[in-house]
Amino acid sequence: MENKTAYIAMENIVKTFGKVVANNNINFSVNKGEIHALLGENGAGKSTLMNMLSGIYIPDSGSIYVEGKPVVFSAPKDAINAGIGMVHQHFKLVDVMTAEENVILGQKGGLLFDRQDGEKITALAERFELGIDLHKRVADMSVGEKQNLEILKVLYRGARILILDEPTAVLTPQETEKLFRIMRKMKEDGCAVIFISHKMNEVMAVTDKITVLRRGETIQTLNTAETNPQQLTELMVGRPMDLAVKRLEQERGPEAIRVEHLTVKKLEGVPALDNVSFNMYAGEILSVAGIAGSGQKELCEAIAGLQKVDEGHIYFRNEDLVGKSPKEIAAKGISMSFVPEDRLGMGLVAGMDMVHNLLLKQYQNQKGWFLNKKAALVKAEEITEKFEINTPGVRNHPVKNLSGGNIQKVLLGRELDNQPEVLITAYPVRGLDIMTCHKIYDILNEEKKKGVAVLFIAEDLDVLLALGDRVMVLANGEVTGIVDAKTTSKEEIGLMMLGQHQKKEGKHLA
């Protein structure tokens, strides 16, 4: 292996968007046969840098070298020709076509199928042990299979340098392991893999080198063997910080919500939730694990009164909430807060300022025809202070212009202000930086301490296990198990996420 010149080198890369400097003098290089992690918080400039390497953006200044030769990418096809392939977070596959057709799609020669192509694809898939059935339709594939198909696609286009943008965000632990095996296989084959992630344990497990970015600058490149998560976090955040997510140990209170045989059907009659039963208790965090789209959204919306329920009951102190609108639920004196997954599209009005967003939950209780904005204005100032929201002003500044973390704080601030007894949170930390994530975990713990029954849906299994008291696993709309967070393992939950029911001998925690 030639170690003198790096396979890919990016030198003094600068990229600005208007006044925002996304990348400032970034230096980054990857060798052949290396798995290199790009680590950094949201907005650190990881995606911008990789978009320049894959020809989507053009750097303002700086140079890119492939095997020591300077190159200029002005379109994605230039990068592909140079052997660079990127697998994006959001898959770009055609559902109704087979794996093979998806690989060939967009290649020269159109859809005219050539036996040689088929053989070449099969050979590639076998070489890297991708384990894809080439004649399976994408619509029938699991998320993990789709991801592998995306990898096959870029490999087929001749990529020797693979960029994976947060590939594990949507995978089960088992699928993640498989992906790591593929990555190692590619490394043995002499490819270079760039792995974007903010999951520290994965980065430690699979990479050889790590480059940390912060606020658009390269902070340091380290050998994975010579560092540890604590040091990496410090480099990412810029100061020491406690990484541990702590569960608040306390006796749970009385039952708050009892869900019995809940069934929700989609338009096509396919069940989105299938005979779901569980309980929530005051002063307890119930984590919900599951592959995206396993019924989480429908579950939240059903409890909040936004989803038509086909069968079953949701009891709150023996009052059945099924068939009641959010207004009717509130009128019963049931104080429930719901932090939906889609913050700007559902929880908040993106184009309105903070005052009006707080008014959303106040105006219906006001008398008369007109809005009283005074109370909301006071509340806005209060919440801004309490949650340390960074905003240019609570009036006349649309919330969509705030950063993701601040948007979430506005939403949480409003929802918690109602002094709820039940708190439903769907992916409350998605896309937020580490500092804000921990702030939000603390807030959830505080609510638990106050005796609120918390439903906590998230992607990160480590956090689900660390923060929750019990973990409920959803797979294809079914509850495949409810386990004690203290005694279960990620592997056990991973199997349940794939639809395997909890082992019968295990104690079922109702």
């Binding site: 208007g18 006044k19 053009i58 492939v66 190159v71 200029v72 990418f73 002005s74 379109a75 096809k77 230039d78 990068a79 020709n81 140079a82 909040a304 936004l306 609108s325 959010p326 207004k327 509130a330 719901f338 939906p340 889609d342 700007l344 599209g345 559902m346 929880g347 908040l348 009005v349 993106a350 184009g351 309105m352 009006h356 008014l359 959303l360 939950k361 105006y363 219906q364 006001q366 025809w369 007109f370 809005l371 212009n401």
Partner: protein, 354 residues
């Protein structure tokens, strides 16, 4: 090569500046066009101002042009705020005028104040009910209101044509297909030399401003416009909100119809709207759906229309030249909106990788 790049949202002051530059650029371009056609652009522009403000009569005409535009734009802005694309102002105006005219023609013996109030209310109801048809289809079957409201315009106009040639044809018009003129008791009075519609328009500007910015119902319309999911989340009755906003929108358009019929043409005819319902879409949009700004934009439009019709007679400029002038201004102002969101940057064309 020139590249279009999205930029941060412009401040309010900058937006105004960009729009003003747009108008100036339009006038400049139009000046070149006028000069090429053999006119002195400065004289023409001067004459346009003189045409809209020069005499009391001309000023009156300008105001009369502005009134329907303002009320229609207000109506349209209510629907547009909900992202409900009501393209049916034209038809709603016709149906409002139709229902109002029924009282004007068949109950002309009622005392004048009673008759006028009933006519105005009937105008609102006529336009509102007409607007409810597509709104109901949208709420029930999620049909595209942009299509249905537009199609209903033709239905409404043909209905008036039918009345004009058939049952409501004026028997005293010697077979000429027109409807009878309104009697004096059905004609809106004047205030300050101009029919009272201008007072109604100004009052409505205040009412709609308060409604959209300070009332619960207006707030719900705005929420629904931003996101249906948020509206659901908050617990807003979506169908009810769509229906009521569409009714208000249609009612204002219908009101415009009966005001025009009563005060301006003094009768109902199929030519009553003749395109103003579409112009009002442009003015409502240019005003950013803000009631106070609607007054300004509609007044400018009225000046433009009035000035253009004056230069036709004063300079013998053909009607099409005046239309070109209007179109240019519109084009530039709408085009300048683009620059509040994007900017052009020069970027050197680079060679691809080898």
């Amino acid at each position: 090569m020139l590249k279009v790049v999205k930029k941060a949202e412009s401040s309010a002051g900058k937006k105004v500046l960009i729009n003003v530059i747009g108008i100036l650029a339009a006038l400049l371009t139009a000046a070149v066009f006028l000069a090429l056609s053999g006119f002195n652009p400065l004289e023409v522009y001067g004459a346009m101002l003189k045409g809209s403000f020069g005499t009391h009569y001309r000023f009156t005409q300008t105001v009369i042009n502005a009134v329907p535009l303002i009320i229609l734009s207000l109506g349209i802005s209510v629907a547009f705020k909900m992202k409900y694309w009501n393209i049916g102002a034209e038809g709603q105006m016709m149906m409002g005028a139709f229902l109002g005219a029924y009282f004007a023609l068949y109950h002309s013996t009622w005392p004048k104040p009673v008759l006028l109030v009933v006519m105005l209310l009937a105008g609102c109801v006529g336009g509102g009910l007409w607007a409810l048809i597509p709104a109901w289809l949208r709420a029930k079957f999620n049909t595209s209101e942009a299509i249905t409201t537009l199609m209903l315009n033709y239905v409404a106009i043909k209905w008036i044509v039918y009345l004009q040639y058939g049952p409501w044809k004026d028997p005293k018009a010697f077979g000429f297909p027109k409807m009878p003129n309104f009697t004096d008791s059905a004609i809106l009075p004047s205030l300050g030399g101009i029919h009272i519609g201008w007072v109604i328009a100004l009052v409505l500007v205040v009412v709609i401003y308060l409604f959209m910015n300070h009332s619960k119902a207006g707030f719900e319309i705005a929420i629904l416009g931003e996101s249906e999911n948020t509206a659901r989340y908050v617990g807003i009755n979506i169908s009810k909100t769509i229906l009521s906003a569409a009714f208000i929108s249609g009612a204002l358009c219908g009101l415009t119809g009966i005001i025009q019929a009563s005060a301006v043409t003094n009768n109902l005819s199929s030519a009553l709207a003749s395109g103003i319902g579409y112009t009002a879409i442009i003015t409502a949009w240019l005003s950013g759906l803000s009631a106070p700004v609607i007054v300004i934009v509609c007044s400018l439009f009225a000046i433009l229309t009035q000035g253009a019709s004056y230069i036709q007679t004063a300079f013998g400029i053909s009607a099409s030249v005046a239309s070109v002038l209007q179109a240019l201004i519109l084009f530039f102002v709408l085009g300048s909106d683009f620059f509040t969101k994007y900017q052009l940057v020069w970027q050197e064309k680079k060679k691809g990788a080898n």
